[in-house]
């Protein structure tokens, strides 16, 4: 299974990953519309942590033994047969935040724009490489087999 | 004679060449070589032909035979003053020629059999040969209208503007007897018709005939200049002669090794036999500037034998053949079969791999100056027992 790994040594904290993730998960997939027009604005599923000169981005690790999936009481979280990615079905989700409670990486967020549902990385399903990896200007993110 | 137009740097020419050596030292007349080269007239254009023959002055074998061409009597007088001053001229005579169709306005052609007065070798370390070379260089560069085109012992070069067979007849070569003969027919693309520009080019007993262009001429020339050679003859063949003189005579490299320096094996080959080819590697490192690059096929005559070889990727033709004790090398097989209809073996030498014919040792001594330096003797033995290294 391919996963995203971060090299904090070369993460420059530019947050392009957040921008492109947001755009990728917007309706228009157009950076201008995504930021200026779309309401609610799409949510980035990747988050850059920063302190002093240290920075790195973090998104769902798609665990093999996912606590979130075990904790999900609506059945909205499920594992994709092909990629093994942990995906989320917005329709089924009721926003009980059980997944937030148990995710040891804190990579699931509340999407407070519009319907309250947890929002998480989907490895940009249907893409060869997730946009955050593709658009990282410094190759601080790599997408590789575990 | 406008060779002093110094901007003129190098000659570009395609040519025919042929040569043979009788390793038993049996001498033959110039007839055969004329036949052979004449057959390949197609490869030349009448702007130059020439010959070199070894063993032709047995009775004078201890003396350097200087062949000179003069524009006029004045040049002759000036030059002879120099010769008399620096050397002991034992015999002086006009080179016998005959009026020949196709040979126009010949210069004055004279030859001098000279020896060096020991006392004149003022500087230690300067050998008799160095001294001769110095004088040849002096005349060829500084004295106007005079040109030394042959300076070895018991050998001679004969060249002119014209087709090679005409040149041969002009010089009455059928009257000479030699154990090694080389010849050249020239197809220059831009040399003025100057007699000195024809092949062979000689220095002491080295005579080179050459087909090709030396793309590395610029650096070869500058390299030679570091060792006091002056390339003045408007042709890159000249550097061939000097390179051989430097590597063989001055640096005392065995002929195979010298050839390996001039047409070095590729780094790929060297790496492949890594270790085994330390010498080849060192040669490339030290003699990089002597590497002769670009297409060429040459014949090198010297008092001990005959060498033919190609550039490192064989961009010009060269064929060799053997019959009895004679080695033939020529641009075209036809040129050989013309004078040796049924050779025992005919082959096309590999790129950069020299074909060598050696005069048997006893003959060497017979034909050479009786005063062979010990080191010389050693070398000749050494060389004689060389396996092909390249």
């Amino acid at each position: 299974m391919k996963r995203i790994f971060v090299k904090e040594e070369v993460c420059i904290g530019c947050r392009l990953c957040e921008i492109h993730c947001l755009v990728e998960h917007s309706k228009s997939k157009n950076i201008f519309k995504a930021f200026k027009e779309e309401n609610p604005r799409a949510l980035s599923r990747i988050h850059v942590e920063e302190k002093g000169t240290l920075s790195f981005s973090l998104q769902c690790r798609h665990c093999e033994e996912p606590h979130c999936l075990e904790a999900c009481m609506s059945g909205a979280l499920y594992r994709d047969e092909k990629t093994g990615a942990i995906l989320h079905n917005k329709e089924q989700c009721v926003g009980c935040w059980m997944c937030l409670m148990v995710c040891p990486y804190g990579t699931i967020q509340r999407d407070l724009n519009g319907k309250k549902v947890a929002s998480k990385c989907d490895l940009c399903m249907g893409r060869e490489t997730p946009v955050c990896v593709m658009k990282c200007p410094n190759e601080a993110l790599e997408y590789r087999e575990i | 004679m406008d060779r002093k137009r110094t901007w003129f740097e190098k000659d570009i020419s395609g040519c025919s060449l042929t040569g043979f050596i009788n390793e038993n030292g049996e001498r033959v007349s110039g007839e055969a070589i004329i036949q052979s080269i004449a057959l390949m007239n197609e490869r030349s254009n009448g702007l130059g032909g020439g010959f070199a023959a070894y063993g032709i002055y047995p009775e004078m074998k201890d003396l350097y035979a200087l062949h000179l061409m003069y524009d006029d009597l004045q040049a002759k007088e000036e030059t002879e003053r120099i010769l008399n001053e620096l050397l002991f001229v034992e015999l002086k005579e006009e080179i016998p020629t005959r009026k020949t169709q196709g040979i126009h306005r010949p210069p004055l052609l004279w030859r001098y059999f000279v020896k060096v007065d020991e006392n004149r070798l003022f500087e230690p370390g300067v050998s008799e040969e160095d001294y001769i070379v110095e004088i040849v260089m002096k005349i060829n560069t500084s004295s106007k209208g005079a040109f030394v085109f042959s300076s070895g012992k018991n050998m001679g070069a004969f060249k002119a503007v014209g087709f090679p067979d005409d040149v041969g007849r002009f010089y009455r070569l059928e009257e000479y007897q030699g154990y090694t003969w080389i010849a050249h027919g020239r197809f220059p693309t831009n040399t003025p018709g100057w007699w000195g520009g024809a092949h062979p080019f000689t220095l002491l007993d080295f005579a080179v005939v050459h087909n090709g262009e030396i793309s590395s001429y610029g650096i070869n020339k500058r390299y030679l200049e570091m060792f006091g050679y002056q390339c003045t003859l408007m042709t890159d063949t000249e550097v061939m002669a000097y390179l051989f003189d430097l590597l063989l005579r001055k640096h005392r490299l065995p002929i195979e090794i010298a050839c390996m320096a001039l047409a070095a094996p590729t780094w790929q080959e060297i790496d492949h036999y890594d270790g085994k080819m330390e010498l080849a590697k060192a040669l490339r490192i030290v003699y990089g500037s002597a590497l002769v690059n670009g297409p060429f096929a040459i014949l090198l005559g010297h008092k001990r034998g005959l060498i033919g070889f190609n550039d490192r990727i064989k961009l010009r033709p060269l064929v060799a053949a053997r019959k009895d004790h004679t080695l033939y090398i020529a641009s075209e097989e036809a040129g050989i079969r013309e004078i040796c209809p049924s050779p025992e073996k005919v082959w096309s030498p590999k790129a950069g791999e020299p074909i060598t014919g050696w005069l048997k040792e006893e003959q060497q001594r017979e034909f050479e100056s009786s005063r062979i330096r010990i080191s010389d003797r050693e070398r000749s033995e050494q060389v004689y027992s060389v396996p092909s290294v390249c």
């Binding site: 920075s55 093999e64 904790a71 609506s74 059945g75 009721v94 148990v102 990486y105 804190g106 699931i108 | -």
Partner: protein, 421 residues
């Protein structure tokens, strides 16, 4: 080999998915007294509130039973288990043999002694049926009383409020959610609930339910009367162990299980709310009726039944996530330690924004936490608690809104981020 599972909720699903991940063929029989395919009990409040389409209640896709090649016996209740002969007996007397048995009967509502409990209009609130029944009578209900200010009670109350019913919650303790929160947190929730128009009565209880033929009012301990047409009894759940009374099965509060989910009887496992299992924080055996725990226990039991001994239960702890009146609250582990016992408590409170963070430590290890309002990334705290990580190096960071892996020491961060499990 035959596997029989009594129960059809999350623990059962955990077991089924574990078994099927390694074994497609072993026949699995799933028995439940409820007629529905597996659904999520916690969702009934959303259903009642009208926030859910009826089929959204289901926990797994419709084809769950076919896809996993199961034999469901739904709407059939188990009357007895004959452990000695390895059979399960249904109410119709039919006996079903098993090689491996999983007890996943879950919990049942705890019903206190109150007079008039049998009056029509009194309901419990744990099952789909309950929600449906309540829904069906709401049209002639203006006022409702919810007995119990715990998770279920509050969700029920909120749901009814969303259906425009005037709701009063009666809680025995002096604050709501007394089991999972502390005063501070509950006071925040109480304020929010009141804003939503939910009436709260604490330190009090319902003594009697009055009415003739149908509920009309309730009488509280202090003698006060409350008019109401609906009473919801939501005091809590207890393990549902009825079918195992008078058997060799070792039961205290619930069915006792070890780290392999084995009961005292060979090849009999138990998982979910019915169990009494190890609590890694309190270091004792107790019932932990929370969803994630049920799934994990079921999964472990499942693996055990397939002979895979790799997965073991390293113990669990209480954790709850509840959002009432738009105030999300998460509580994990030990939230109300006794003052002494060497616990350290770090807190941060901002009433204006309803943001409250509280972390309880013992010997630099997190043993519990409460987060209100701003709950994002709380999971990281849960993870640290679960793994018993010493937080000495960065304990002050725990209160920061920016708290994250960036706050970890480098080696810990690398270890957590790079070895994916």
């Amino acid at each position: 080999m035959k596997i029989v599972i009594i129960g059809n909720s999350v623990a059962a699903v955990g077991a089924i998915e574990a078994v099927r991940s390694v074994d497609r063929s072993t026949p699995i029989t799933v028995i439940s007294d409820e007629p529905h395919p597996v659904y999520s009990r916690p969702l009934i409040s959303y259903l009642l509130a009208g926030e859910l389409k009826p089929d959204q209640i289901f926990y797994r896709p419709k084809n769950f039973y076919e896809k996993n090649n199961l034999r469901p016996l739904l709407g059939r209740s188990v009357t007895k288990v004959h452990f000695e002969e390895r059979t399960v007996q249904l109410e119709n007397g039919k006996k079903i043999p098993y090689d491996h048995l999983l007890i996943a009967t879950g919990g049942k509502p705890f019903i206190p002694k109150i007079e008039g409990l049998d009056t029509p209009g009194v309901y419990t609130f744990t099952k789909l049926e309950d929600a449906k029944k309540i829904s069906s009578v709401l049209k002639d209900v203006q006022k409702a009383v919810v007995i119990g200010g715990g998770l279920i009670g509050l969700k029920a109350a909120e749901a009814l409020r969303k259906r425009k019913i005037e709701v009063t919650v009666v809680e025995l303790a002096d604050h709501i959610l007394s089991l999972t929160l502390d005063e501070t947190a509950s006071s925040i929730l109480e304020k929010a609930l009141k804003k939503e128009g939910v009436h709260l009565i604490t330190s009090n209880t319902v003594e009697a339910i009055l009415g003739d033929g149908r509920v009309e009012s309730v009488r509280l301990a202090d003698g006060k009367l409350l008019k109401t047409q609906l009473v919801v009894v939501a005091i809590g759940v207890v393990p549902n162990v009825d079918p195992f009374k008078e058997t060799a099965l070792h039961i205290e509060k619930g069915v006792l299980v070890n780290e392999r989910m084995e009961t005292n009887i060979p090849d009999v496992y138990a998982a979910g709310d019915v169990t009494q299992a190890y609590d890694k924080i309190l270091k004792s055996y107790r019932t932990i009726p929370v969803w994630p725990n049920a799934y994990v226990q079921g999964k472990i039991a499942g693996y055990q039944m397939t002979g895979n001994k790799k997965y073991q239960y390293e113990g669990s702890f209480m954790m709850n996530s509840i959002e009432v009146a738009h105030v999300p609250t998460i509580s994990i582990g030990l939230t109300n330690p006794l003052p002494n016992d060497g616990y350290q408590i770090i807190r941060k409170l901002d009433r204006s924004s309803n943001v409250y963070r509280k972390v309880i430590l013992k010997e630099d290890v997190i043993v519990g936490a409460i987060f209100t309002g701003h709950i994002d990334r709380v999971g990281i705290i849960t993870g640290l608690l679960r793994d018993g990580v010493k937080v000495k190096g960065f304990r002050k960071e725990l209160m920061s809104e920016q708290f994250g892996f960036i706050s970890f020491p480098k080696n810990l961060r690398k270890e957590k981020l790079l070895d994916l499990k």
